[in-house]
Symmetry: none
Subunit: 297 residues, 5 copies
């Protein structure tokens, strides 16, 4: 039984947000309401080392062209690359401007992803959505929520869809099952919905990670049970599954299918896509699109 | 002897606050000046685990409908759910927009509940009150008071009733009798009144918790003595009794009756209500309403 | 054939506007989606001379009580009276804060109704709508539109329904059929809709006034034809029929019935109501309510 | 010899403007760089009388559907209709939010079109362009330019294409050849370009109107000469030809072909389209599209 | 194989930025697109001790004259020196106003370089660029990014080129290979590009520093490999090589040649220049210019 995804008319969008999400979901990619995004903020989040596997991927032009060839629904980049590279491709593929980010050099114990761009920057650049990384459970959540409040209000004021990278993080998360336990991911999905995300990007939940998680999660769940619960926790917030670090393809596709059955909207896969040789990337993307084609809205 | 509750003409309200409180207390619920609120911010405060007892409760629509069926005076939710779910029910039940909140993942030793919405958001959404969690006694009270100052001023400027969740919290509270000692709750009620709350939500005080409390509280008090003192400490700030985690019904009703005798305005019960099967929830609510019906303003 | 009025879910309202209009239309008055408003800004617009017919009507308390006794959906007053008199009745009847107004001492040739209150004033006072007089066709329309722009944006930002008193006025209107010709009223209804009114208050159109009107209006129309056209011109903007100066009751009721048949939402009658002795006012109101009861939404 | 139109990479657009213009010109309509816009602000500019020829055209829904059926590149409406009607069609057709407008009731001697919406309103609604009526030659040009300055700056700041309805108007224009002389239209095209329009909408120039025009224009020009000059005067500002009041189709198509030969980008035809019965409208539009198909960018 | 540097038309500059960079790169220095900057903020960063080797260098006039004599492309100074000394030489050599800086007295463990001037100061002074020190990897990156966000937006708004001193710094950097490892410098170049720098100043990378660096960097690289990677990581952000503390000339020139081969734009050398006797400084500069002359844009 496939869970029905909510329609764009039923999730609390004003006209600007609805216009832009319609464009992303129904006028790009497969045009069937599913989504496949290409994130490319790893140069900031991890540094150029992520490009060593496929050096061409260090060039933003290569990535944008790959997104066009692959038929993605959008590309998520930071302000500097957007300013330098998007103009050449303006309007050819939806831009998701990532508003915050950080390096992975300091400790993540009190992780906070600082803002380096605004919703108004996104409007000026012609973006169709903004992205914000929320570190759920971090001791720095006071500063995080304060940043997010302004972003959320601006996104409403300017009719800009708001995609939240909702990531459990910080010393307390590490001590309670880790960042991708079912407990942590389920909580993260709900927090994004409670705080006002239009779309939430989560990692696939791992129900087997149960050390020190809350007792409700310390029993046996299938991965399908877990992702069903995560999508339900997000309620009217659309769900994207994150690829994370490059994994075995069969694992990826298995998770992806379970997520779509649960009612997710699609995927946001970066390293799994571009840490491969060009043609292999496209073949991988083609398989993702084939999967998504079975789940029209 | 029942203590007389203050009237809306006698507690320092401007026209907007009086209009909205009249609506909540006399045009909804029992329409007799008492109040029964349904809080639904546990998805943020505790995560989806609170919905495992009754999975339907994970759906905000289920909760809002329950509040309508049960004849509640209002529903307290976070901004994200308000944006996504309230429009469909706009005006059918008063909205209390909860302005701050946090996850329970990091330690509460230095607890602070960061803002994720503003009084102006509440006005835009048609809310009849805002809610703010004040952690009384936390080492972070400097940041807490600074946040609260702005909320209080905005609430006056916009005529919006301000309900304070006044909760003793933090390492110092833990070291002095805990979060629900008579000492701590009495202090919390007074702090909310001193800082400008229109309504204060407190836990029921436990006079038997006396380890390391101030000496004035280290002697025998009945629970009626304790709640009498708490309501008196709140003076012109109306008092709501919090349900907290799901307890035995007989304990709940006993405490509730004592609170109403003491002059409280009503209850704000969440998990005690919706962590039950639907019809049982309504039966429980009916008993609460029956109790409140004996205490008209 | 009665024209169907648009529902509150279908006229572009955000949550706050929908909440407040639901309150006005379905939780006050006949609670059937029709509306009967009592306007009381004549003390500013015409001066105390309007109260000579029934001196008691000079006392705002008398008027507010009349509105309560008569079961009105709201009362429209200026800021000064709202500050002085509404607190005593806060929440008992919806307040429509009239934001602009003028005296009738200078010439109306270049009429402009200046602002003396803001939408934020209305929020602070607990109002459920704001009123704005737009003088359609006046040479001062530049200043008028500039004022209105800010009011409209604030009304959206704060979720406040916006009622436009859309009155043809000025030397050019006088030269083209006058202020209540079918041509002028039809145009005024459309202008309010084009500029963003939620509700428009118009005078009943007079199709027989054809001197110098545009050629399309210079032929025979029944009054029913005319009011049908006016309501259609307002499209999703709800229509209220203004009483204007006190007329024969039979004329009033005839026009009222035609307006409701055309799909109007109700009436806003001042002098016709309170320029009578108290009990006669209530009898007149009772007849209006009886008429409205046949046109539920 | 067809004049080459400038490309989107060569007309000084920032990324947001380029994104949105690409969408209008290459992802809607014929998708070949030409444009056919449907303007629908006549309800404000002329009043409902313009809908008497085809009463269905008074309903904005009819018009938006007509634009969708006809394959237009965008629809230009005022803020009130946009707020009420665009949400249902959000993203299905580009929205051009008209920012200013006026009634035709007062004299045009000192014409000024006052603002009733902002570029930020357009962003919030998901619009792809804004429209501004500039009355070239009016004695009120001081106020006009002051309004336009803010609009232009906001349009740059927010990456929003700016379409200028550049209309010679006012007593001085009337005294020097009238509003559609070659002299006046040529001047208007240049003024829009000098002041910062991205696109200019002009009336087709009439070289035969020579009474009191500047001496350079007081000699014989073909209409092709005239429109060539107008497009050249606009230089990197794209040119749209206005339909004006409903004319003979053969005249329209003749002018349209000459404009496209001159390097215009397309047409903005309202009354010529919707003052006809539905199917006839579509047939007329189909002929316009056929004409535009011969002039790809 | 020399890597081609990007042209000024291809790196996302608005007109003001392009104008000022063209002035720096093609109308000063060698006028061939390369750059040689003289930084003189060491009085703040290190104190007067840096001038003990050549006491004349403590006088800003001496330095500015040296820059003029040496044919530099610009001089980078703090606001106080700019206010006091630039007027005398205004326009004779491009001014790079350094916007932030700090003393080296406290620990660098949580380094942050606070702002002491704004982009608007730079405009007022006639500067052709601003400089900002970003400490990549510091635990204070939240405050750093927040500062930088404002600088970046102001630089775009005012058309001012933005040069980022991108320096790995802080306790986490020290623990992972240090501030000038290939890993750290490569990451710093990318971060500047991701965040929106027009030009990035980096230290020359040391591939042999591999203790605790990420595994991708823990293998053998030539210095040419390393600098090639750094310039590639900066993509469209132009690269300047920092001199750092005074080194052996032969090392300097070797590194410089490798950097230019990699596609760098030039050098920013301070102490290596002015910690010498006057004529020796000029001879050193002459050798740098000779090197740059082989790498025209």
């Amino acid at each position: 039984m496939v869970v029905q995804r909510p329609t764009l008319s039923d999730i609390g969008l004003n006209a600007g947000k609805k216009t832009r999400l319609l464009r992303i979901l129904f006028q790009n990619g497969l045009r069937n309401g599913t989504a496949l995004f290409l994130p490319y903020d790893q140069g900031l989040e991890h540094g150029p080392r992520d490009f060593f596997a496929n050096p061409k991927a260090g060039d933003p032009r290569y990535i944008i062209k790959l997104a066009l060839e692959g038929g993605f629904n959008g590309i998520a980049i930071q302000i500097g690359l957007a300013e330098k590279f998007y103009w050449d491709f303006a309007g050819e593929i939806p831009l998701v401007l990532k508003l915050n980010g950080k390096t992975d050099i300091p400790s993540d114990a009190q992780a906070l992803s600082p803002l380096q761009a605004t919703v108004e920057d996104a409007v000026r650049l012609g973006a169709d959505a903004v992205g914000y990384t929320l570190y759920v459970g971090t001791p720095a959540q006071g500063a995080d929520f304060a940043q997010f409040l302004k972003v959320r209000q601006d996104a409403i004021r300017l009719g800009m869809p708001l995609i939240v990278w909702s990531y459990p993080r910080g010393e307390a998360v590490d001590a309670k099952g880790g960042t991708d336990s079912f407990y942590a991911v389920d909580y993260a999905a709900r927090v994004a919905s409670e705080l006002g995300a239009d779309i939430v990007k989560v990692n696939f939940p791992h129900p087997e990670k149960q050390v020190n998680v809350k007792k409700e999660y310390a029993r046996e769940f299938s991965t399908q049970d877990a992702i069903n619960s995560v999508v339900k926790s997000a309620n009217k917030t659309l769900v994207l599954i994150s690829g994370g670090s490059k994994s075995s393809d069969e694992v990826m596709f298995g998770r992806g299918r379970e997520a779509m059955e649960a009612g997710a909207t699609g995927f946001i896969f970066g390293r799994n896509v571009w840490q491969r040789e060009h043609d292999e990337s496209l073949r991988f993307v083609e398989r993702l699109r084939e999967l998504l084609s079975h789940y029209p809205a």
